[in-house]
């Protein structure tokens, strides 16, 4: 999991890394640098991963067949590795989104009850 240099706790960042990566890839195929840039943009700069640790996580997700990779080329002609979400990844994303939503609801209700 990419530990954070951000406003959020390390555990929270680690838990959210997989659904965030899958969410970014659900919109379009992407590569490491771009995934980090998109996540930073979406979080308004609050979520900044230790970038190098993203790559072992991407490889892990690929090993679990949630994403797959292919080599393409950058604008400068240098080869670049792109990642694409798989159907299993889509299912996992949906499941994790539901879980996050439920946790968020629990937190809201717990706050109202107290």
């Amino acid at each position: 999991m990419p530990p954070a240099k951000s406003d959020y706790s390390k555990d929270l960042v680690a838990a959210s890394a997989t659904p965030l990566i899958l969410s970014v890839l659900r919109n379009a195929d992407s590569y490491g640098y771009d995934i980090i840039a998109r996540v930073a943009l979406l979080s308004g700069g609050k979520l900044q991963w230790a970038e190098g640790m993203l790559y072992p996580l991407l490889h892990r997700l690929e090993g679990r067949e949630l994403i797959k990779s292919y080599w393409g080329k950058s604008d400068t002609g240098r080869r670049r590795k792109y990642y694409q979400i798989t159907p299993a990844g889509e299912q996992t994303l949906q499941s994790q989104r539901n879980q996050w939503r439920e946790i968020s609801d629990f937190l809201s209700r717990a706050g109202q009850a107290s």
């Binding site: 240099k5 590569y31 490491g32 640098y33 230790a50 970038e51 190098g52 640790m53 790559y55 072992p56 490889h59 892990r60 090993g63 950058s74 400068t76 240098r78 080869r79 670049r80 590795k81």
Partner: protein, 167 residues
């Protein structure tokens, strides 16, 4: 990315090589990331060496990244190994016992004198031990089976080999 000087490119490639455990594909992937960031920093007016130091520091310690990749590889390999079924484990252990029993019996038929028998016994035991390590690695958790097989081997050896007869 043509704005990156050759010495900075070399630093990037060296960093990527360490962080990837010299895996060419991973090194290329990491280098691509560093090149993107350093190139845009240089375009924004930053000194190439300063950009490399800042970007690589933020990217992470190469040894930690290398370790994370190594761990990921270990997990991948261990998930590929399918555990053996109980029947497969039993068959493997029985075959192992039978092969060694046959070797001991055949040896006892050939070796007649006591001194040669002692040496042969020692070599056979060493051989049996040596073959048990990969066997145990394959079946996993075979310690109890190894002890049982060892006891059986000892009884057989004492009955059959000349060195055992003397005792």
């Amino acid at each position: 990315m043509s704005n990156i000087p050759p010495d900075t490119l070399e630093l990037i490639e060296r960093y990527a090589r360490i962080a990837s455990n010299s895996d060419t594909e991973i090194a290329d992937e990491l280098a691509d990331h560093l090149l993107c960031e350093i190139s845009s920093a240089i375009s924004a007016g930053e000194d190439p060496t300063d950009a490399f130091l800042r970007v690589s520091t933020h990217f992470g310690h190469p040894a930690e990244i290398a370790e994370a990749f190594a761990e990921q590889q270990r997990d991948k390999q261990s998930s590929r190994i399918k555990p053996m079924t109980l029947n497969q484990r039993s068959a493997l252990l029985i075959s192992h016992s039978l092969v060694w029993a046959a070797v001991i019996l055949a040896t006892s038929a050939i070796v007649a004198d006591t001194s040669t028998g002692s040496s042969v016994m020692f070599i056979l035991l060493a051989g049996w031990f040596a073959t048990f390590f990969p066997l145990q690695a394959m079946i996993g958790g075979g310690r109890a089976a190894a002890c049982a097989e060892w006891a059986w081997m000892k009884r057989t050896a004492q009955r059959v080999l000349p060195v055992s007869k003397d005792k």
